[in-house]
């Protein structure tokens, strides 16, 4: 009987069964950043342990990095001390660290793929829930807590329990102006933010097969928002073409051997799944959120739901969302004024995202009174965007062109909303207070939709603003 990629990877990495029935799982690649690792290094020290396989661990700094002025010491001494702790810990343990100015610093989930660290068939862990991003390459990648970061540092393994696998088919061709971000918001809207509990999501079907790698990363990135800790796409020629020639990709004879191995790890055609769901690409509209979790979403042409239209169990949260967002039931989402436009985050700050926006943004201006930021996902993305003239398009339009980091997505640096400002954002979470102000409001959407909102000063349909598909 056929096996899924998830089962194959699991079996190849199961060191042994633990007494409690969990598996001890070997982790091929461990990614670190400054927020969830210092306590783990502290625990390691208390236990008198070392990083067991430093060649499997890579670190960068992203969450706390100021995106405006990176001169050290940072204005925020707490941020500076976190950076220094990571420098010290990686140096002491012989771990590769992509520091500020190294040319490779950036959001951990952007630099892993970009450097070719992320490869098919790997198990990848990082103390960050959006580790699911790396599943785009056919890796089994998931977020862990700090105690587990310690476990991986000390043993390169962790205790884990096998998940069920849900195959999510997306079939057909996406309409112009509809992107991977719309696909994943649509999926979460329909399956719910708890729908993926206990599952790994395998994305497939003709729509996914036609997606480039960066779109697949966006799709897998937000699996966690659907309650699934893991999301992945089977590796194929698109995957191999992306990886070829990257700094850490296999080379020469090893490259051919790696491709053979990677092909074999894909789910078998007769693999069985615990659940199968199918979506039609043509039915996916540009999608935006209206509430306080990513599942509270609707088509850009839609109206905010009336309470009586919702299942009874969803009403309390909807009421809470309406009160927090200041929206009326039945109100169209289109036309809601915004104060901030943010293009960035591990979901949508890759070169292809910026290219696509710049292509349409050229010749447009950010509406007066809107604060618009674009924060590239990595130093490499920033450099390429400068070279290609993309940065200049953004600047001319009135966007602030920033240095790479997580920025406003979770506001651990100075980039944050003020008061109850409403942000159109390409990030992944619209939780209460997520963007740094306890009253701040977030509407999630694709990067191009953020640009449309920046230009019009309100939630808008990018297809209308930029004349797409008409």
């Amino acid at each position: 009987m056929g096996k899924t990629l998830y089962e194959k990877v699991w079996e190849a990495h199961e060191v042994r069964r633990l007494k409690n029935g969990q598996s001890q799982l070997f982790i091929d690649l461990h990614l670190l950043h400054e927020v969830t690792s210092p306590q783990a290094f502290g625990m390691l020290k208390d236990l008198g342990l070392r990083v067991r396989y430093p060649h499997r661990t890579f670190a960068t700094v992203d969450h706390i990095v100021p995106t405006h002025d990176r001169t050290e010491p940072f204005q925020d001494p707490l941020a500076q001390s976190m950076l220094e702790a990571l420098r010290q810990n990686t140096k002491e343990h012989g771990v590769t660290f992509f520091d500020l100015g190294s040319g490779n610093q950036g959001i951990v989930h952007v630099i892993g793929p970009q450097l070719g660290l992320t490869q098919p068939g790997m198990t990848i862990a990082c103390g960050d829930s959006h580790t699911s991003t790396h599943g785009a390459f056919g890796a089994v990648a998931f977020g862990i807590g700090t105690s587990q970061v310690r476990d991986v540092l000390a043993t390169q393994t962790l205790a884990a329990r096998k998940l069920k696998v849900r195959r999510i088919n997306i079939e057909g061709k996406l309409a112009p102006g509809v992107y991977a971000k719309d696909v994943i918001l649509h999926i979460i809207r329909h399956l719910g933010v708890k729908g993926g509990l206990g599952y790994a999501y395998e994305y497939g079907g003709s729509t996914v097969e036609a997606m480039d790698m960066e779109s697949r990363m966006t799709l897998c990135n937000m699996s966690i928002e659907g309650g699934a800790r893991i999301g992945y796409v089977n590796p194929d020629e698109t995957t191999f073409a992306y990886l070829e020639g990257r700094p850490y990709s296999p080379k020469g004879a090893e490259w051919e051997e790696a491709k053979r191995r990677w092909r074999a790890v894909a789910s078998d055609p007769d693999a069985t799944y615990d659940d199968v769901v199918t979506f039609r690409a043509e039915e996916i509209p540009p999608t935006v959120t209206w509430g306080i979790n990513p599942g509270q979403a609707l088509p850009i042409d839609g109206r905010i739901p009336l309470l009586e239209e919702l299942p009874p169990e969803e009403r309390p949260l909807a009421e809470e969302a309406l009160a927090y967002m200041g929206f009326r039931p039945g109100q169209p989402i289109k036309g809601v004024p915004i104060q901030v436009a943010f293009i960035g985050s591990c979901t949508n700050a890759r070169l292809s995202d910026l290219r696509e926006v710049a292509r349409h943004l050229k010749g447009h201006k950010v509406k007066r009174g809107v604060r618009a930021l674009v924060v590239p996902g990595s130093e490499w993305v920033a450099r390429k965007a400068e070279e290609e003239g993309i940065a200049e398009v953004f600047r001319e339009a009135g966007f602030e062109w920033r240095n790479p980091g997580c920025s406003m997505c979770l506001a651990m640096n100075p980039d944050r909303l003020q008061g109850d400002e409403l942000a159109a954002s390409s990030s992944n979470r619209n939780y209460k207070g997520r963007m740094g102000s306890p009253k701040g409001r977030t509407v999630l959407m694709s990067p191009l939709m953020v640009a449309a909102a920046a230009v019009t000063g309100e939630i808008a349909d990018a297809r209308e603003v930029f004349g797409i598909g008409r």
Binding site: A79, T131, G145, T155, T157, L197, N293, M412, Y431, P438
Partner: protein, 201 residues
Amino acid sequence: MLEKFTVIRGRVVPLRGEDIDTDRIIPARFMKVLTFEGLGKYLFYDERFDEKGEPKPHPLNDPRYQGASILLVEAGFGSGSSREHAPQAIKRAGFRAIIGESFAEIFFGNATAIGLPCVTLAPEDLAVLFQAVEQDPDLEVEVDLVNKEVRFGSRTAPLSIPEEAREALVEGLWDPIGELLQAGELLDQFDRRLPYPRRSE
């Protein structure tokens, strides 16, 4: 030796709301710390305090619930970010167990790994428990991990918790690092066999 959790007894703070995410449990700006010490005071900070730091109405600020050691929540608790800071803040604020309808996976794993049991009740039992503690904040509740039940007043409700987590907590083996280290030489075999990213100059 790690603590063994057999029966946890205490008063309860009822915290209503579905899909309470870890950003709400502890906002990101309080994570600029190198250790978990002192995180308890930031638990649900933005829901408990206004911009001036003045307390707002919230169950955790309610004098009737002071000193409670069990947190009562609804479905989807702990969704979102993988930050262990969230269960650490709950534990460091004095809570010894969480009762709810369902928990996000990473949150559940993080909580178990630091010895903070998360148990679930059937929705109808949970509703009765919410009502009971809201009526009587002094109600003593027992979370019995050995007999797999929650007891309060004259009632007994069956609790669920994944068996491996339950055993680990009851036997005081909830911190797995010792067992993981026992794999010893086996780890080196895996390291030799499995490819890793290598820069070939």
